[in-house]
């Protein structure tokens, strides 16, 4: 009984020990698939659904994960190992499973302006051969680049066309043209980049503004630039009826000299006066009406004073300028003389 009990106790203790340190051998219906390069195991066994429902779900998942991890680690131990600085290291094989990429695939480069245009017009790229025949050297040479065929930069003589200035340096002209083409190409490249990034491309007219609503001055500037952006530099551009001339157009004020030609200055002023004179209307309506009213007044006045001719002696209505000033402020002729008499 005692011996039996001792064996039992030992067996129980052993069992407890085994329970605590779970065995490294795990039994599975189907073998797992391993990809040790990625430290990856794939369990194809169907999970025990009954047990999953009965047992605590967390515990079930934990034990399943432990078992599978144990199998993965067993597999790693099968690999050749070595000891590096007191640490045992296994050399993993190449991964076999292809994993999806972490980041989304890059978008295709947006087409350049030319590519868009070419697509619109149906222009297709034609492949040209790399080598072309060079007649001068009698050999096949590259079409472009170093030692190219038919190299026009290496010409020692350029025929001057009939239409151009004979003193012009044709070599310099060619170099300049090349440089300009390069610069233009670079500009277009940058523009394409800017377009692709949706940055406003700086150009003439409105400068790129940080705000959506440009200010009044900015708009004014844009209008001015647009107006002079014609073939005749805005010379024949129409103006709105009350539009003011643009200010600060970069034109410097120019004045006549202080002591210049006095006779031309005088002539200029007389011309201005002539123009001003000619612009005056021939018939000043208010003036005409006033004149008419005055005449009527005079007529009625003379009728009234037919009898009293004595008082008319001052009545001299000849002109507006005369020193006589027959004209008086008040309608009654008789008032003025009386006033004068009072004064003197």
């Amino acid at each position: 009984m005692a011996a039996c009990s001792i064996e039992d106790v030992l067996a129980k203790a052993e069992k407890d020990e085994a329970e605590k340190l779970k065995s490294i051998t795990v039994h599975k219906e189907l073998d797992l698939e391993f990809d040790l390069g990625n430290l990856f195991a794939f369990d194809k066994n169907p999970p025990d659904t009954r047990e999953f429902r009965q047992k605590n779900k967390e515990d079930f998942l934990c034990s399943l994960a432990r078992d599978n991890t144990q199998l993965l680690i067993n597999e790693i131990w099968k690999l050749p190992t070595e000891r590096v600085d007191e640490v045992i290291v296994a050399k993993l094989p190449e991964p076999t499973t292809r994993l999806p990429r972490e980041k989304p695939a890059p978008k295709p480069r947006p087409p350049t302006k030319w590519e868009e245009f070419a697509k619109l017009k149906g222009i297709q790229k034609k492949k040209k051969t790399n080598l072309v025949w060079d007649d001068v050297h009698k050999e096949w040479r590259r079409r472009w680049g170093y030692k190219r065929a038919n190299d026009d930069t290496k010409e020692w003589l350029i025929e001057v066309p009939e239409s151009v200035d004979p003193n012009e340096d044709q070599f310099a002209k060619r170099i300049k043209a090349k440089k300009e083409r390069v610069a233009k190409n670079e500009l277009n490249r940058l523009r394409n980049i800017a377009r692709a990034q949706k940055i406003k491309v700086p150009g003439v007219g409105l400068a790129p503004t940080p705000t959506d609503q440009p200010s009044k001055s900015e708009l004014g500037k844009a209008v001015q630039v647009a107006k002079v952006s014609t073939a005749s530099v805005g010379k024949f551009q129409d103006r709105l009826p009350k539009e003011k001339a643009p200010k600060n157009t970069g034109k410097k004020r120019k004045f006549q000299p202080l002591i210049g030609d006095f006779s031309t200055e005088k002539q200029k002023q007389l011309d201005i006066l002539k123009v001003m004179d000619s612009k005056k209307p021939r018939l000043d309506i208010t003036k005409a009406v006033n004149k008419q009213m005055r005449e009527e007044d005079m007529e009625s006045g003379s009728k009234r004073k037919k009898g009293s001719g004595k008082k008319r002696r001052k009545g001299n209505f000849s002109g507006k300028k005369g020193k006589g000033f027959g004209s008086t402020a008040k309608s009654g002729k008789n008032r003025k003389p009386r006033m004068k008499q009072g004064k003197r």
Partner: protein, 180 residues
């Protein structure tokens, strides 16, 4: 100092012509010598050629006045006549107003001319016509703008304004420090 530009000349002539009409020609084209208009510190000076040449010896900052100041250009490029121009406006004036001796002082203090102070007025004066104001003894006192036409002047009541004051010779004392 510099000559006037065409625009400035035109603005000034338009203002002058309100007072002396086409008689500006007599100012520009004088038989007794060459006279010209020059701009200095926004003011227009009427100078004889001789004086102008002498004035060139004086630096711009130091030059206060030369010749006769006709007026000045405002910052909006309008032209304002100054009382100093009266000497040239009075002999050529086309429309004149005489004020009674009692009203002289009021005018010289910078007030408008009322109907009660009106001695005589040139016949045919239109409303808002530039006029030169004289005393009854034919001494030019200043200039202004007719508030009423001659016809209307006859009918209005004595306290209504007939000439708006613009400049008078009292300014020689009142604004002595700014007149040049």
């Amino acid at each position: 100092m510099r000559p006037l530009t065409d625009d400035e000349t035109k603005t000034m002539f338009e203002k002058l012509s309100k007072y002396i009409g086409e008689n500006i020609k007599l100012l520009v084209d004088r038989p007794d010598g060459t006279y010209c208009f020059r701009l200095h510190n926004d003011r227009v000076y009427y100078i004889s050629e001789k004086i102008l040449k002498l004035a060139t010896n004086i630096s711009r900052e130091k030059l206060v006045s030369v010749g006769t100041c006709f007026g000045k250009f405002t910052k909006t490029q309008k032209f304002r006549l100054h009382i100093t121009a009266l000497d040239y406006l009075a002999p050529y004036a086309k429309f004149k107003v005489w004020v009674k001796p009692g009203a002289e002082q009021s005018f010289l203090y910078g007030n408008h001319v009322l109907k009660s102070g009106l001695g005589r007025i040139t016949e045919n004066t239109a409303q808002y016509q530039g006029v030169v104001v004289y005393s009854m003894a034919d001494v030019p006192l200043g200039f202004g703008v007719a508030a009423k036409s001659t016809q209307e002047c006859r009918r209005v009541d004595p306290m209504s304004i007939v000439v708006f004051h613009q400049a008078d010779i009292g300014e020689y004392i009142r604004s002595e420090d700014t007149l040049t």
